[in-house]
């Protein structure tokens, strides 16, 4: 069923106050970009214009959502940009960049490699060679380390984890990056939930949340992914089993962006059953149900809040919990890291991406921090690329603390 309010309608709430232009990290870094107001709300208000009518800096938007966060009138600025981009690319498939297909469909390759013996290892080797010889650059990729495949994906690791059974269950939405690149985050999540008396479930029907498809302009495919995931989420909602994601871009997609993009009431209903991991843990803590945890470390940590978490309007629950548990941690508060999912992996966006991240890199390099803590996988990659400090997901710190106690 279609919702009355669509992201596109929200364009008419724009009063052209320019807050989004002032907050946009891409506008600040790249003088070519006209800024979110002019690209999203202004251009998409031309409802009746020719589909080939096109603002030529539309491709420069990173969909980081700082415009949405800063808008005082609830305009879904970045989503308007993505809708415009998809509309244009549908009419002009030739305008796709060569790397779009690969960067938007990482899940396809990851799945295929898992079915080939030594597929992942060979692919990792191939990436190392490709990066060393410049082949990745020829393919349109930025000069940075492309994420390596884990030797065992989380979906396979999960089957071997022995969990105490419980009436209290949650369904884990691993997302591509945790599943195929950083499975230790998933393992830590299971540990933390088990400690709190929850049994973690997985459902193989889940597919990529679709965020990389949206930014690449593959909106129809993203819609298929949304429908698949929403059906699973609703099935579990009927059993009162919440769905939890440890990746803040996945949780934002499931909670908010499906509804903004596709305006289906089922999506909004399903969203009510989706939680970001630390949002869920913070709620347990608020209700006095979180198992006490205390962190003992002599090290000093720095926290980077992903933009896609900030957009969720739930504060910084991971920072709050870690601080409460006794971790010596400061909030970097240095804005966008610049990578914004697959954005910074495009060769053409690399310079902008690194320029945007400079303030964060400076904040991290400014003191002798042991590690950077961050809920987002691609932010962590960008941080490790731009600094010499390791970055980890907060759930791993919590899991380690439970293990020690």
């Amino acid at each position: 069923m279609e919702l009355e309010e669509r992201a596109r309608d929200s364009a008419d709430n724009c009063i052209a106050c320019t807050s989004c232009i002032a907050a946009c990290p891409v506008t600040a870094a790249n003088p070519e970009y006209k800024g979110p107001k002019l690209v999203g709300p202004a251009h998409s208000r031309m409802h009746f214009s020719d589909p080939s009518d096109y603002e030529d800096t539309l491709m420069l938007c990173s969909n980081c959502k700082n415009c949405d966060i800063t808008c005082p009138n609830g305009v879904s600025v970045s989503t308007l940009n993505m809708l415009e981009r998809a509309k244009y690319l549908q009419a002009h498939p030739e305008a796709h960049k060569p790397e779009d297909e690969m960067l938007s469909h990482g899940f396809k390759m990851a799945n295929m490699l898992n079915s080939i013996p030594f597929g992942k290892q060979l692919a990792n080797l191939g990436m190392s060679i490709g990066e060393a010889t410049g082949m990745m650059g020829i393919m349109g990729m930025a000069p940075r380390k492309t994420p390596r495949y884990a030797s065992t994906y989380f979906r396979d690791m999960f089957k071997k984890i022995k969990q105490p059974s419980s009436d209290k269950k949650v369904l884990f939405f691993p997302g591509c990056y945790i599943d195929t690149n950083d499975p230790e985050v998933g393992v830590a999540f299971v540990k933390v939930m088990n400690e709190n008396g929850y049994e973690v479930l997985m459902d193989d029907r889940f597919v990529c949340c679709g965020s990389p498809l949206v930014v690449g302009g593959y909106l129809d495919e993203a819609r298929n992914h949304a429908d698949t995931n929403v059906a699973v989420i609703q099935e579990y909602a009927r059993k009162n089993i919440p769905v939890i994601a440890c990746c803040t871009s996945c949780s934002l997609m499931l909670k908010t962006e499906y509804t903004e993009l596709f305006a289906q009431s089922e999506m909004k209903e399903a969203a009510k059953n989706v939680w970001d991991a630390f949002e869920f843990l913070a709620r347990l803590d608020y209700e006095g149900k979180l198992k006490k945890v205390s962190i003992k470390s002599d090290h000093k940590f720095i926290y980077h809040a992903p933009c896609h978490l900030r957009a969720q309007g739930i504060g910084l629950p991971a920072l709050d919990l870690l601080e409460k548990a006794g971790l010596n941690i400061v909030n970097a508060d240095a804005g966008c890291c610049g990578i914004s999912g697959s954005y910074g992996f495009h060769k053409d966006n690399y310079e902008t991406s690194m320029k945007v991240g400079q303030k964060l890199f400076d904040a991290i390099n400014g003191d002798n921090y042991h590690k950077v803590v961050c809920d987002c996988g691609t932010c962590r990659m960008q941080i490790e690329h731009g600094t010499d400090t390791k970055a980890i997901h907060p759930i791993r710190i919590l899991a380690k603390a439970y293990k020690k106690s």
């Binding site: 320019t18 232009i21 006209k34 800096t57 808008c71 309007g313 739930i314």
Partner: protein, 413 residues
């Protein structure tokens, strides 16, 4: 979601100041923000009172306040709190390396981006324009490709304001930046880079000199400090004055960054994108605010709540139908004429105040909302800034002044 002593709702000038003063009281503060506040639209100067009820210029803000009607917010706030709030503000921004100049005793003058003079009370040193009165030559610097700053218009208007006995010259500098139309923030970024500064100086230096004043748009750096300004004054050997600017206002954002920096030092939590949706009320006391996205709200408990949602201009107060003003978070009583015939004066630039601008929450001298009989509605909810009734800030030039002083009073209460 842990409990705070004070929850401030709104992050404009009033909200940030209320949070800062509350923290100064030793309170644990949570600030709920939705959008960027008014800063990209805000000059970042503090007008206390520019014009009286009849629209006549006020020479001394503090004296002008004494003559205001009894239902004006300043009368409820009181002179002592207004004075203390000005001192607190000046201390705060000075502590962040961005001292403001001016006092309640007399107006300061600034140059607008169209070249008119405007009275204000407190302003950054780089905007303070008194040297223009004694200068023998005014040099107006424009920037190629910069929208909304037209040197010829500034020149013409300034000549009217300052007199034809001075020399007025113009120069237009090139940033060599290609791409989109420039905003003042783009140019400010260029000027604060070493390369940009060098290029800028080279194009302006020849025009400057002793006894002249160089007028520039708001381009002397994006940050709330005077690094670029001081360097330029020294290198040009004469006075430099920044004008106010069109949105996004460089100086409004400088002020926001400075206040946020002060907030951060006091450990104040700012929750972004958290629209306050609903209050949890027990009797005449609010125990918590539910805020957040459409999907589910977070609960923010506190002993005290300060409402700084920006009134009619920012969605804190709305009117869906004529005759029905509504305060959106607590449903507090709103006073003001909202009939279809009277809510707006169609002569936008006339010498009459606007009824919709005068509308707001009716409060007593403690800044808590009161009902028709004068009884306090919610004992621990304080109302500040544009939510207050009884003044038209555009007409009298008092927006940031009321925001600042009401926030101060509410936070100290």
């Amino acid at each position: 979601m842990s409990k705070s002593d004070v929850v401030v709702i709104g992050n404009g000038v009033a909200g940030l100041m209320a949070a800062l003063v509350s923290a100064d009281e030793g309170k644990k503060v949570t600030l709920l923000s939705y959008g960027a506040g008014t800063f990209p639209l805000n000059s970042g100067v503090i007008d206390i009172l520019g014009y009286d009820d009849a629209g006549k210029a006020v020479d001394s803000p503090i004296e002008g306040i004494g003559k205001l009607a009894e239902n004006h917010p300043y009368k409820k706030i009181g002179v002592a709190a207004i004075q203390d709030s000005v001192e607190f503000f000046k201390r705060t921004v000075a502590g962040e390396g961005f001292p403001y100049t001016g006092s309640l005793k007399e107006q300061q003058w600034l140059v607008t981006s169209v070249g008119t003079l405007k009275p204000t009370c407190l302003l950054p040193e780089s905007l303070e324009a008194s040297d223009c009165f004694k200068a023998h030559e005014i040099v107006i610097v424009g920037v190629k490709g910069l929208k909304d700053f037209y040197v010829d218009m500034v020149k013409e208007n300034l000549a009217k304001e300052l007199g034809e006995d001075k020399r007025y010259t113009t120069v237009t500098v090139d940033t060599y930046i290609t791409g989109r139309d420039l905003t003042t923030r783009d140019v400010a970024r260029w000027v604060e880079s070493d390369k940009g500064y060098g290029e800028f100086l080279a194009q302006v230096k020849g025009q400057a000199g002793v006894g002249k004043v160089v007028i520039v748009p708001q381009i002397l750096g994006t940050k709330g400090d005077y690094t670029v300004y001081n360097r330029l004054v020294k290198d040009l050997g004469c006075s430099v004055v920044e004008t106010t600017g069109m949105p996004p206002s460089v100086n409004g954002i400088r002020l926001r960054d400075v206040l946020l920096s002060a907030l951060k030092k006091k450990g104040i939590r700012v929750i972004e994108n958290a629209k306050a949706e609903k209050a949890i009320v027990k009797g005449d006391v609010v125990t918590a605010i539910e805020a957040g996205g459409e999907i589910r709200s977070q609960v923010y408990e506190a002993d005290k709540f300060i409402l700084a949602t920006g009134g009619f201009y920012s969605g804190g107060i709305t009117m869906r139908d004529f005759g029905e003003y509504k305060e959106m978070v607590f449903g507090l009583p709103v006073e003001g004429d909202c009939t279809e015939e009277k809510w707006v004066n169609k002569q936008l630039f006339s010498d009459k105040k606007q009824a919709f601008a005068m509308a707001g929450v009716r409060v007593d001298s403690s800044l808590r909302a009161v009902d028709d009989s004068g009884n306090v509605v919610l004992k621990n909810v304080y109302v500040v800034g544009r939510n207050l009734s009884g003044y038209d800030f555009c007409f009298e030039h008092s927006g940031n002044g009321v925001a600042l002083s009401s926030a101060y009073k509410a936070a100290r209460a």
